[in-house]
Amino acid sequence: MSKLSLRTEGDTHLVVTRRFAAPPEAVYRAHTERDLIQKWLLGPEGWTMPVCVSEARPGGKIRYEWTNGKGGAFHLTGEYVELEPYRRIVHVERMFLPDQTPDNHVETRFVADGGGTLMTIRMTLPDAQTRAAMLATGMERGMEASYQRLEGII
């Protein structure tokens, strides 16, 4: 039920869906309120987010900085574009690893689903090639899978 699903749509989109056992209001707040974001948006085990800026209004800034406490660090910057409380968030983001990744336009929808929420994140990459490059290198571990995928997209 709660398993993450990740699929492509059209030429430039990636769609992530996930169900939560909480109402849309709670899931929306957990995506926009600083204190809540810092509790879960942390990536792999051992990482924390000492810096979290989330100005939840159109044009508001987003800045997340992660560290593993062992010298490892990366950050993300972005801007909120549209916010419809408890239903929809539109924002733009890019990662610095430290190299900057292409801008990712993200629309996140929260829909009441039974007693819980169905969240759908639709990412739009700048062009088909960028997304193809992302998928080509594989969303799953394993070199062979990557190569097969690489051949599949031609």
Partner: protein
């Protein structure tokens, strides 16, 4: 990680993705690569240079030939980033489940 940007940029071209896919199946020389793509060797060489600069393709010297192969390290850097993305997403949402459960309890206490 330094070459990650260059790697993504290099793969933004369909011919270069095709060359990489061909090399994933095994080593090949410029001549061998030029045939199936019906391109000149000089055009193939230019694409190979972009892929080499991005750390995605490596070569070795074999007499007068210079067979190219996929540079695993380059692919792995991109792969690692994407695997990290998926794993991070899964772990994040598992954590979010816990946070949401906590929010629910707090609400309950207030009422």
């Amino acid at each position: 990680m330094e070459e990650l940007d260059a790697a993504f940029a290099a793969l933004a071209d369909p011919t270069r993705r095709a060359i990489l896919a061909r090399l994933a199946a095994g080593e090949a020389t410029v001549t061998e690569l030029a045939k199936p793509f019906s391109m000149t060797q000089s055009a193939i060489s230019q694409h190979l240079k972009v892929l080499e600069d991005a750390g995605l393709v490596a070569s070795r010297v074999d007499g007068t030939k210079r067979p190219r192969r996929v540079a695993r390290e380059g692919i792995e850097a991109m792969d690692q980033w994407l695997a990290m993305m998926r794993t991070a997403l899964e772990q994040n949402y598992d954590r979010l489940d816990t946070v949401l459960a906590g929010m629910d309890q707090k609400k309950g206490k207030k009422q």
